[in-house]
C-alpha cells in the first residue's frame, strides 16, 4: 500500500538513513557533529538520540580518521556511512579513499568487501566562504573501484541512500546541499514503492529539440531551462544522470539519436571531468546522429571564486539556453 510523504531532499535522506539503521544493526553513521547537532545540515538529526552513540559516532575532527576507521569497521563487518561536512574537506581523507576504500576489494581478490558510503554535500549557490561550494565528483569518478552517485530529488534521495548502504561496493553519495531544505524541491515519496535501480540514469523530461544531461543540483537548472525554452518553442529533453560512476549513458545515447544535440551541464570545472567523458562517449556512440558538437555548460576552470561572484561562475538557465542556441545554430 502506498505510503506517501511530502519530503525535502534533506528529510528524505534522514528518513532513508533511519530506515537503513532500523533494518540492519551493522549500519553505523560516523562524522563530525553528526550526533547531538544532527550534522551541520541537520541531515542526521535525531538519529543519535534513537540509535545511541555507538551507532551514530561523533568522531574526532579528522577526515582521514573517519574514512580510515570506516575501512577497519567494514573489514569487521559493519556498514559505515561517513558524513563529510563539506566537499572541500574531503581531501584529508582522499588518501584513504583512493588507496584503501577503492582498492582493498581488488587487492584481496574479493576477500574484503568495502560496504562504505561516504556522504558528501556538494555544490555552490549558498553564499559560503572558500571550500564550501565545490564540485569535486569527477576526481572520484576517475578512481576505479569506487562508485559515485548524485541525487537531485527527494525520491532518489530516500531510496538512493538505502540502496547505497545495501551495496557491497564503496559509494560516494553526492548530495546537492543547496537543495537540502528547498521547499520547491519537496516531493511525494512513496516509502513502500519499489525503487528504481541505483545505477541507472533517467529521462526526467521528454523533448525533441536538444538533450540536456545533468546531475545533482544542475538537474533543477536543466528543468528550469527546459520550461523557459518551451516558451520559445523549443523542446528540451532532460536526463538526470544519477549515477556518475558507473556512467549509465544508454538513455543519453538514445536521446541524442532522437534530438541530434547534446548539452552536458555541471557546476564542476570542465577540463578532464565527467562532462569531458560524456562528450567523448557520445561522439563515439552517436557520431552519425549528431547535428552539432556536444557542448558543455560548466563552472570555469578556476578555483571556486568568492561567493559574490558565484552567480557568474555557476551555470544558470540563461547559459543553458544560450548554449542550446549555439547548438541549434550549427
Amino acid at each position: 500500500m502506498a505510503d506517501l510523504q511530502k519530503l525535502t531532499i534533506g528529510k528524505a535522506i534522514n528518513l532513508g538513513l533511519r530506515r537503513a539503521m532500523e533494518e540492519d544493526p551493522k549500519v553505523l553513521i560516523m562524522g563530525e557533529d553528526v550526533g547531538k547537532l544532527g550534522g551541520v545540515f541537520r541531515i542526521t538529526d535525531g538519529l543519535q538520540k534513537d540509535f545511541g552513540e555507538q551507532r551514530v559516532l561523533d568522531t574526532p575532527l579528522a577526515e582521514s580518521g573517519i574514512i580510515g576507521t570506516a575501512v577497519g569497521l567494514a573489514v569487521r563487518g559493519f556498514r559505515p556511512v561517513c558524513e563529510i561536512q563539506f566537499e572541500g574537506f574531503i581531501f584529508p581523507g582522499f588518501d584513504q579513499i583512493s588507496s584503501q576504500v577503492a582498492k582493498l576489494h581488488y587487492r584481496t581478490q574479493g576477500k574484503i568487501k568495502m560496504p562504505i558510503v561516504i556522504r558528501v554535500p556538494f555544490g555552490g549557490g549558498i553564499g559560503a566562504v572558500e571550500h564550501h561550494s565545490e564540485s569535486p565528483e569527477s576526481l572520484f569518478a576517475h578512481i576505479p573501484g569506487l562508485k559515485v552517485v548524485s541525487v537531485s530529488n527527494a525520491v532518489d534521495a530516500y531510496w538512493g541512500i538505502q540502496q547505497a548502504i545495501k551495496s557491497d561496493d564503496p559509494i560516494l553519495f553526492f548530495e546537492p546541499k543547496k537543495l537540502y531544505h528547498s521547499g520547491a524541491m519537496k516531493s511525494e515519496v512513496d516509502t513502500e514503492a519499489t525503487p528504481d535501480e541505483l545505477f541507472k540514469s533517467r529521462v526526467v523530461r521528454e523533448g525533441t529539440t536538444a538533450t540536456v544531461v545533468a546531475y545533482g543540483p544542475s538537474v533543477k537548472v536543466a528543468l528550469d531551462a527546459a520550461a523557459a525554452a518551451e516558451d520559445e518553442g523549443k523542446s528540451l529533453e532532460v536526463i538526470d544522470l544519477r549515477t556518475l560512476s558507473p556512467l549509465d549513458l544508454e538513455p543519453v545515447f538514445e536521446s541524442v539519436r532522437k534530438t541530434g544535440r547534446l548539452i552536458a551541464l555541471s557546476e564542476a570545472p570542465s577540463e578532464s571531468s565527467l562532462t569531458s567523458e560524456i562528450a567523448a562517449r557520445v561522439q563515439q556512440e552517436c557520431f552519425y546522429s549528431l547535428e552539432a558538437p556536444v557542448l558543455r555548460v560548466t563552472g570555469f576552470d578556476t578555483p571556486y571564486p568568492p561567493a559574490k561572484l558565484e552567480e557568474h561562475y555557476l551555470p544558470d538557465l540563461d547559459r543553458v539556453l544560450h548554449t542550446v542556441d549555439r547548438s541549434l545554430a550549427w
Binding site: 575532527l61 570555469f300 578555483p303 561572484l309
Partner: protein, 401 residues
C-alpha cells in the same frame, strides 16, 4: 596501565597529581574541569583582577606598566566591539557568515602582541584579534566574510598569512615557513625570527597537525604552536579529541608544552614571549595551549543550544578576559573612568567605520573569477574568460540587463 604523563588533577587535588590511567568519566571530568584549567595553568591575572606573581614568567612582562596594560585592554575592547559589530552585520544580511572571537580576545591579543615585525603568524579563520595586532585592517578581513574575496591583506607586509579554513592545513605550512627561517640562518640570537601558528582544540585530531609537530620537532623549527582550546569544535567537546590535556601532547614529540590561562592577556603575552624567545634562540618548537572558551556560537550558522549547557557559559562569563583587566586597572588606579569612557568611544567609532565600509564594499567584477588562477595564464583559460565576458556583453547589447 599507569600513565606517567597524566597530571591533570581532580578538582581539589593540589598540584600536579599523577594518577593511574583515568576512567573515561575521569577523563571527561578532568578535561572539562573548567574551574581553573588545572594545577599547571599559568596565570598572572586572576578572574577577579588580582595580579599574581610567577617566578618563571614575571620577567617577560616587566615592561608592561599601567600604560601598556591599558593598551592591551584597549586592543581587547576594540576587537570585541568589531567582532560584535560583524556578528550583527551578518544578522542583517551584510555578511555571508561570521566567525566570532568573543571570549578569545586575551589569547589573541596577548600572543599577537608578543610578536615582532620579522615574525610570521599563520592563522586559521577566527584570528581577527591577531590580525589586528599585525596591523591588518579588519576591513580586509570582512571581505572574506562578505564573500567578496578569499584574502585581502598583504601577508608579507603584515607577517600574517591568509586565513586557512581547511582544519589543520596551516600547521604544516607554518612548519615549512619556520624551517625556512632556520635554513636561512635567522635563528640563534635575540634578534632572530620566529613563527607562530594558530589552531583549535578540534584541529589537534587532524593528521596535518600531528605531522606539523613531527616536522617542526625534527628540524628544530622556530615555531610556536598556539592552540586556542576554546573547549568546542562546533558541537564536539575537547574530550572528543583527546584523553589528555592538549599541552601534554608536546612531550610525545619532544618539545615543551605549556597551558596558559587563555583569558589572561598578561599571561598569554608572557608565555608567548617566552616561547618565541625559545624559538629565536634555536630551542623551538613549543606548544602553547591557551585554555579559553568560545562564548558565542561556532559561526553564525551554528546553534550551540543544541549541544551545550547554559550554565557552562555563565561560569565562563565570570572569567571574562576583558573584565579582569578592567578590574585590575580600576582598582590599582592605573585607569580612571575617563579612560574607560574613551576606550568605549574609540571602539564605537571603530565599529562604525567597519560598518560603513562593509555596507559600501565594492562588488568584485566578473573577470576577477579568471585572474590569478596561474602566475602565467593559459590559452584555454584566456579563451574561457573572453568567451564569458563577451557572453555578458551580449546581454547588455540585447537590453536584457
Amino acid at each position: 596501565m599507569p600513565s606517567e604523563h597524566w597530571t591533570h588533577p581532580e578538582p581539589g587535588d593540589g598540584p600536579a597529581a599523577v594518577a593511574a590511567q583515568p576512567s573515561p568519566e575521569q577523563v571527561i571530568a578532568g578535561l572539562r574541569a573548567t574551574s581553573e584549567g588545572g594545577a599547571e595553568l599559568t596565570q598572572l591575572l586572576t578572574p577577579e583582577g588580582e595580579r599574581i606573581s610567577s617566578p618563571r614568567f614575571d620577567r617577560y612582562v616587566d615592561d608592561i606598566d599601567a600604560e601598556a596594560l591599558k593598551g592591551l585592554y584597549r586592543d581587547m575592547v576594540l576587537v570585541r566591539r568589531a567582532d560584535r559589530e560583524a556578528n550583527a552585520m551578518q544578522r542583517q544580511g551584510q555578511l555571508g557568515i561570521w566567525v566570532p572571537l568573543l571570549g578569545q580576545e586575551a589569547a589573541q591579543i596577548g600572543s599577537g602582541r608578543a610578536l615582532r615585525k620579522g615574525d610570521m603568524a599563520f592563522p586559521s579563520y577566527r584570528e581577527h584579534g591577531v590580525a589586528y595586532t599585525r596591523g591588518v585592517d579588519l576591513k580586509e578581513v570582512l571581505g572574506i566574510f562578505r564573500c567578496t574575496d578569499h584574502s585581502g591583506w598583504d601577508y608579507k607586509a603584515h607577517g600574517f598569512h591568509p586565513y586557512t579554513i581547511v582544519i589543520g592545513n596551516q600547521v604544516l605550512n607554518a612548519a615549512g615557513y619556520a624551517m625556512g627561517q632556520k635554513f636561512e640562518g635567522k635563528v640563534g640570537d635575540d634578534d632572530s625570527e620566529a613563527t607562530i601558528c594558530y589552531f583549535g582544540d578540534g584541529a589537534t585530531s587532524q593528521g596535518d597537525v600531528h605531522e606539523g609537530f613531527v616536522w617542526a620537532a625534527v628540524y628544530d623549527a622556530p615555531l610556536v604552536f598556539f592552540c586556542q582550546n576554546n573547549q568546542w569544535a562546533i558541537s564536539e567537546p575537547t574530550e572528543r579529541q583527546s584523553r589528555l590535556p592538549l599541552y601534554q601532547r608536546a612531550r610525545g614529540y619532544g618539545f615543551p608544552g605549556i597551558r596558559v590561562d587563555g583569558n589572561d592577556v598578561l599571561a598569554c603575552l608572557a608565555v608567548s614571549r617566552w616561547a618565541l624567545e625559545e624559538c629565536r634562540h634555536g630551542n623551538g618548537p613549543v606548544l602553547i595551549e591557551a585554555f579559553t572558551y568560545r562564548m558565542d556560537a561556532h559561526t553564525t550558522t551554528d546553534d550551540p543550544t543544541r549541544y551545550r549547557l547554559s550554565d557552562e557559559l555563565e561560569e565562563w562569563k565570570l572569567k571574562d578576559p576583558i573584565e579582569r583587566v578592567r578590574a585590575y586597572l580600576a582598582r590599582g588606579g592605573g585607569a580612571d573612568q575617563a579612560f574607560f569612557d574613551q576606550v568605549q568611544a574609540d571602539s564605537d567609532a571603530f565599529a562604525a567605520e567597519l560598518r560603513d565600509y562593509c555596507f559600501n564594499m565594492p562588488e568584485p567584477p566578473p573577470d576577477r573569477i579568471f585572474s590569478n588562477v596561474y602566475a602565467e595564464s593559459t590559452p584555454m583559460l584566456d579563451a574561457q574568460r573572453e568567451e564569458y565576458l563577451s557572453y555578458l556583453d551580449g546581454f547588455v547589447g540585447a537590453g536584457e540587463h
